[in-house]
C-alpha cells in the first residue's frame, strides 16, 4: 500500500487559460488547485493532438480518462508520482546563471513540526531535480497559521519561536551546504522578526508579505527590514494553500485516485519560479506537494 504521494502541476506558465484567471479576485490556491487539475486532466486523457482542443470551451464534453495506474507512477522510493514524471528532459532552457530560482515552501497546518526538516530537504531536492539544477537562489518558508497584519501583531509564544528556530536550522544547514543562497520568511511582522532574528546564524534576506497590504506596510517594519538588510517582497498566496477538503475533492471525487474513505493529510506544498534575470521573463513555475 502506497502511503506517500507527490502531486505536481507541471509548468504553470505554459498551462494556459484554465489556470490563470483573475488574480486580483482570487488568491493563488485557486491557481494551485486549477493547475493540478489541468495537469492531471492532460496526463489522464488519452493522447490527443494539442490543436484539437485549443479552445477551453471545447473540452467541456464528456471526458474519457485513463485508469490511474496508466498516468501515475510508483517510484523506487515507494512514492506514487501523480502524474507520472514526464520522460522528457527536465530543466531550464538557458544556462543556470541566467536565472533567479525562487522556491516557496508552505508547511501545512496539522503536520508535526518535527517532520519539517525532512520535508524541507525533500522539497528542495524535488525542485532541483525538476529544474535540473543543483542549488536554488532563494528559499522562502511559510509557517502555518501565521499571517501578517499591518494593524497589529501578537507576540508569538515561546513554543512557536522555538519551532521556527528548529526549522530555521534546517534552512541554515542547506545554506551552508550551498543548496540555497538566500533564506526568506513569509508573513513576519516586526515582532516576529525580532523574536526570531537573534537566534539565527544566517540572517534571512527576504520577508514576504501579502500583496493586499503592500501599500500599508507599517513604517517600523520598513525601517526594521531596511536596517537588517531584509528585502520586503510581495505575494498573493493563500494562507491556507491546500485545505484537506479541496484536496479530497480533487483527487478523490474528480480523479478517483483514492478510495473515498482514505485519510488524506497534505504535508507540504512547494512553489518554484525560474525567472530570466536580465529579461524578467518567467520561464518555469510549478508547484509540488
Amino acid at each position: 500500500m502506497v502511503s506517500r504521494y507527490i502531486l505536481s502541476t507541471g509548468n504553470v506558465m505554459t498551462a494556459g487559460a484554465e489556470v490563470i484567471r483573475k488574480p486580483t479576485l482570487e488568491k493563488s490556491n485557486t491557481e494551485l488547485v486549477n493547475s493540478l487539475r489541468e495537469n492531471f486532466k492532460a496526463a489522464s486523457s488519452p493522447a490527443l493532438p494539442p490543436s484539437a482542443s485549443p479552445n477551453p470551451a471545447a473540452t467541456s464534453g464528456p471526458e474519457i480518462r485513463l485508469a490511474p495506474e496508466e498516468w501515475t507512477k510508483l517510484g523506487s522510493d515507494g512514492v506514487l508520482y501523480v502524474p507520472a514524471e514526464s520522460s522528457e528532459p527536465h530543466g531550464l532552457a538557458e544556462d543556470r546563471e541566467e536565472y533567479d530560482v525562487t522556491v516557496k515552501l508552505f508547511y501545512l497546518p496539522g503536520v508535526p513540526s518535527s517532520s519539517r526538516c525532512t520535508h524541507t530537504e525533500e522539497a528542495v531536492r524535488l525542485v532541483c531535480r525538476e529544474l535540473g539544477i543543483s542549488s536554488i537562489d532563494l528559499l522562502i518558508v511559510s509557517f502555518p497559521n501565521i499571517s501578517f497584519d499591518a494593524e497589529d501583531e501578537d507576540i508569538s509564544s515561546e513554543e512557536d519561536v522555538s519551532e521556527w528556530v528548529r526549522t530555521y536550522r534546517t534552512l541554515e544547514s542547506l545554506h551552508s551546504a550551498k543548496k540555497i543562497s538566500k533564506i526568506g520568511l513569509a508573513e513576519f511582522g516586526t515582532t516576529r522578526l525580532s523574536q526570531l532574528l537573534p537566534q539565527t546564524n544566517v540572517k534571512p534576506s527576504v520577508d514576504q508579505i501579502n500583496v493586499r497590504d503592500c501599500c500599508v506596510v507599517p513604517k517600523p517594519l520598513i525601517l526594521y527590514a531596511k536596517e537588517r538588510g531584509i528585502e520586503l517582497l510581495t505575494h498573493n498566496d493563500c494562507t491556507d494553500i491546500l485545505p484537506v477538503d479541496t484536496l479530497r475533492q480533487l483527487v478523490v471525487d474528480e480523479f478517483g485516485l483514492f478510495k473515498t474513505d482514505a485519510k488524506l493529510v497534505p504535508q507540504w506544498v512547494v512553489k518554484y519560479t525560474a525567472v530570466i534575470r536580465s529579461r524578467g521573463v518567467v520561464e518555469n513555475k510549478g508547484q509540488v506537494n
Binding site: M13, G16, A47, P54, V282, K285
Partner: protein
C-alpha cells in the same frame, strides 16, 4: 527622428531619378553585403548579430514636447519657434557637465552620475524630443525611475527656455494653423515649401532635411496633402459645416487650386500641410529583444494592441481651432505625409506608377513577420504590395533557393564565397522589407550618391535608414545598426502623449510589463491583420474608449503542451483541424480587453498582475506599479477620462465657448496654462485634473 548629415538635398524631380539607386544601397545595408562578392567585414557584423542570442532587455521611451510661449498682454498661448536656440542652450550645458560641471539651477536627483537625458530636434520648430540618457533595464529600480526621469527631462527643458516659454506634453496644439497669431514670432503662411494656407514654412525645423521632406511629399503627390477630419457638431455649429478658414481665392502657388478642386470636404476640418501631422506629439516605446526571433514575436504580438492603446491614450480632440469628432491624431499624421499619387491611390488608371498602394507611408502595419507556428497564414490577410525584385534578392536567387533558409542569415556559397544576391532571408521577413521598399526615398542628399569606397557601411546604412525612417507604421522592426552594442529592437508607436509624466510613465510601464507577460506566458494576440486596420479606424471615433468595440482574440493562451508520459504511447501524428479563424476573435470593449470579462476573458491588467505575483517584487515597487496599473485600468473602465475627453470637456465648459465647435484664443490660453500646470504637478490640491488623474493621495 535622428538628424542626418547636412548636405545638398535634391528637389523631387532630381530625387526621383535616384530612387532605385538608394533602394539598391539600402538593401545592401540590410544584407550587409559587399557588392563585389567578397566576404567582408560587413558579413562578419551581420553574423555577429545573428548569433546574438541573449541580449538583455533594454528599453526606452521618447517624449515629445510642444514648446509654448505666452504673450501675457494679449493672453495668447503660442508655439515658440526657438527650438534651435533651446537645443543650443541644452548642448552648452551638456558640454559643461562633460567637463565636470553640472546643469546649474536644475533640481537633479541625488545620483549625479545618472546620464543626462538627451534632447533632439523634431519636424516642428516648436517641438522637442527627449529620451533618457541611457536605456532602462528591467530592474524594479529602473521601472520606478521612469517617471522621475521624465520629470527631470521636463525640468531640464524648462530651465533652458525663456521666462515665458514652457514645454508641454500635448498631442496636438489646438491653434496650429488658425488665422490668428499662433507662433512666436509670427510669420505669414506664404512659404513655398509647404505652400500651406495655414502653416508658415518657418514653423518647420529649418534643417534642410525637413522643408525638403515637406516639399518633396507635395511634389511627389502632385498636390498639397489634404487632411480632412470630421468636425464635432455642437449645438450652434453651422450645418453643414464648411471650414470657414479656407481661402478659396488665394493664387500664390499652383497648389492653391487644390481647394477649388474639392480638396476640402464638407463637414470636415481641412488641413493642407505636413506640419499638421508631424507637429503632433507621440509617446513611443522601443525594446531590445533577446534575439531576432523574440523581436519578431514582440513585433507581432504588440501589433494588435496598437489601435487599442491609441484609443486608450486618446488625447487630441482639437485641430486647427475646432473641436473634431475624433479623439486621436493618427489619421492626421497619416494624411500629412501621404505622398501617393492619384495613380498610386487607384484614382486614376496606372500609367507611370509602379504600384497601387492602399495606405499612406504613415499607417497601420500590414503584415505579421514572426515565424511562430501560432501565426496562421489566415492572419496575414491583406493583399500586401511588395517590391518583388527586392524580395527575391533577400530570399535568394529566385531560381535556386539558398542552401539554408534560416532567419535573416547570410549564406555563404559552397565555395566559401558569398553570393551577394543570395541572402537567404525567410520569405516572411523578406516580404516585410520588400513592402517597406515600395516607397521612394523622399530626401536624397547629393553627397550620399557619390559612393566613397572607405565608408560603404555608412553609405548603405544611410540609404537603408532613408527608407526605414520614412515608413511610419504603428510598429517598427529595427535591425541592429552596424558598430555593435545594440541588438534587435521593436518600437511601439501608436500611443498619444499624455499631459502628465505620471500618465506617460504609466502607459510606458504598462507596455513594458505587458511584453514580460507575453514572453512569460507565451501569449497569443493574433487576429487577422485586416481586423487591426478596422480597429485603427474604430480607435479614431470620439470616445471610442468607452463606446466602441474592438476585434480581439478570445483565448490568449497557447495550447497546453502535450504531455508525453513514459507509460503513454506517443501522440498520433495526424494534426487536428484548427478551428476557423473567425471563431478565434470577437468584439470587445476596451474595458473588457484591459480589465477582463467575467470568466470569459482574463484581461490584460489581471494578466500583468498575475505576472507580478509570480516574480519577486518588493513592497514599494508593487505599490507604485499598482498605482500605474490602476490609472490604465480606470481609463479603460471610464472611471477616469482620457486626455481627449478631458480637453473636450474643458473647452465645452469654458465660459467663452459658444457651442459652435470653435476654440477661441482665450479658451486655448486657459487650456494651455492648465495643461502646463498639470504637467508640472500643480493645482492638484485644488482638484485640478481629478477626472483625468484621480484624486491625489
Amino acid at each position: 527622428m535622428g538628424l542626418l548629415a547636412l548636405g545638398t538635398p535634391l528637389p523631387w524631380d532630381e530625387a526621383r531619378k535616384h530612387a532605385d539607386q538608394v533602394r539598391d544601397l539600402g538593401i545592401k545595408a540590410l544584407s550587409r553585403v559587399h557588392v563585389g562578392g567578397r566576404v567582408t567585414q560587413l558579413l562578419q557584423i551581420w553574423n555577429k548579430y545573428r548569433k546574438n542570442e541573449r541580449d538583455v532587455l533594454l528599453w526606452g521611451d521618447e517624449i515629445e514636447y510642444l514648446v509654448v510661449a505666452y504673450d501675457e498682454e494679449t493672453k495668447n498661448a503660442c508655439l515658440s519657434l526657438r527650438q534651435a536656440e533651446i537645443l543650443a542652450e541644452l548642448a552648452k550645458d551638456e558640454n559643461l557637465r562633460k567637463a565636470g560641471g553640472g546643469v546649474p539651477d536644475v533640481q537633479e536627483p541625488a545620483d549625479i552620475s545618472e546620464p543626462l537625458p538627451t534632447f533632439h530636434p523634431e519636424f516642428g520648430r516648436f517641438m522637442l524630443e527627449a529620451t533618457p540618457g541611457a536605456p532602462f533595464g528591467l530592474t524594479w529600480k529602473d521601472l520606478l525611475a521612469v517617471e522621475g526621469n521624465m520629470k527631470l527631462r521636463r525640468a531640464i527643458a524648462k530651465e533652458h527656455m525663456a521666462e515665458n516659454e514652457a514645454p508641454i506634453t500635448l498631442t496636438s496644439f489646438p491653434m496650429l494653423g488658425t488665422k490668428g497669431v499662433f507662433t512666436q514670432p509670427y510669420y505669414p503662411s506664404t512659404g513655398s515649401q509647404s505652400r500651406s494656407q495655414f502653416i508658415p514654412d518657418e514653423a518647420i525645423n529649418p534643417h534642410i532635411r525637413f522643408p525638403t521632406l515637406a516639399a518633396n511629399i507635395r511634389s511627389r503627390r502632385g498636390m498639397k496633402v489634404a487632411i480632412n477630419m470630421p468636425v464635432f457638431y455642437d449645438e450652434n455649429t453651422p450645418r453643414p459645416f464648411n471650414d470657414p478658414t479656407i481661402d478659396y481665392d488665394r493664387r500664390l502657388y499652383p497648389e492653391d487650386d487644390d481647394v477649388r478642386n474639392g480638396a476640402a470636404k464638407e463637414g470636415h476640418i481641412y488641413m493642407d500641410a505636413m506640419g499638421f501631422g508631424m507637429g503632433c506629439c507621440c509617446l513611443q516605446i522601443t525594446f531590445q529583444a533577446k534575439n531576432i526571433t523574440e523581436a519578431r514575436q514582440l513585433y507581432d504580438q504588440l501589433c494588435p494592441l496598437g489601435p487599442v492603446m491609441l484609443a486608450l491614450t486618446a488625447a487630441s480632440p482639437i485641430f486647427k481651432g475646432f473641436l473634431a469628432d475624433v479623439d486621436v491624431r493618427w489619421n492626421v499624421i497619416s494624411g500629412a505625409v501621404d505622398d501617393r499619387t492619384e495613380e498610386e491611390k487607384g484614382l486614376k488608371p496606372q500609367k507611370h506608377s509602379r504600384y497601387v498602394i492602399p495606405k499612406s507611408r504613415y499607417d497601420s502595419v500590414s503584415t505579421y513577420i514572426s515565424q511562430d507556428p501560432a501565426l496562421r497564414s489566415e492572419y496575414n490577410d491583406l493583399d500586401l504590395v511588395i517590391d518583388k525584385d527586392i524580395e527575391q534578392r533577400l530570399v535568394g536567387n529566385g531560381s535556386r533557393p539558398p542552401p539554408c533558409m534560416n532567419v535573416g542569415e547570410v549564406n555563404v556559397g559552397s565555395s566559401g564565397s558569398l553570393h551577394h544576391r543570395c541572402l537567404g532571408m525567410d520569405e516572411r521577413l523578406a516580404t516585410h522589407f520588400a513592402h517597406l521598399f515600395i516607397r521612394d526615398p523622399l530626401v536624397i542628399f547629393q553627397e550620399t550618391l557619390n559612393e566613397s569606397p572607405d565608408d560603404k557601411a555608412d553609405h548603405f546604412e544611410l540609404a537603408w535608414k532613408n527608407i526605414q525612417s520614412t515608413n511610419w507604421q504603428h510598429m517598427r522592426f529595427k535591425p541592429p545598426p552596424p558598430g555593435g552594442g545594440i541588438g534587435w529592437r521593436v518600437e511601439f508607436r501608436s500611443m498619444e502623449i499624455q499631459v502628465t509624466d505620471h500618465e506617460n510613465a504609466a502607459f510606458a510601464i504598462f507596455i513594458v510589463l505587458l511584453t514580460r507577460a507575453i514572453l512569460s506566458y507565451g501569449l497569443n494576440f493574433y487576429i487577422p491583420i485586416s481586423k487591426v486596420d478596422e480597429n485603427m479606424a474604430t480607435a479614431h471615433r470620439r470616445d471610442a474608449v468607452l463606446t466602441e468595440k474592438f476585434w480581439f482574440r478570445k483565448n490568449l493562451f497557447p495550447p497546453r503542451k502535450p504531455v508525453t508520459n513514459g507509460s503513454q504511447t506517443p501522440a498520433p501524428s495526424c494534426p487536428g483541424t484548427p478551428p476557423p479563424v473567425e471563431d478565434e476573435y470577437t468584439l470587445m470593449t476596451i474595458d473588457e480587453i484591459m480589465n477582463g470579462r467575467q470568466d470569459e476573458f482574463v484581461g490584460l491588467i489581471p494578466l500583468i498582475e498575475s505576472y507580478l505575483n509570480t516574480v519577486n517584487v518588493d513592497v514599494v515597487t508593487r505599490c507604485e506599479l499598482a498605482g500605474y496599473l490602476s490609472l490604465v485600468s480606470k481609463r479603460a473602465s471610464g472611471e477616469l477620462q482620457t486626455g481627449a475627453t478631458w480637453i473636450r470637456e474643458f473647452v465645452r465648459n469654458h465660459p467663452d465657448y459658444k457651442k459652435d465647435s470653435a476654440v477661441s484664443q482665450g479658451i486655448n490660453y486657459d487650456l494651455i496654462k492648465t495643461v502646463e500646470a498639470l504637467g508640472n504637478g500643480q493645482g492638484r490640491e485644488a482638484g485640478l485634473g481629478d477626472k483625468l488623474l484621480g484624486k491625489p493621495n
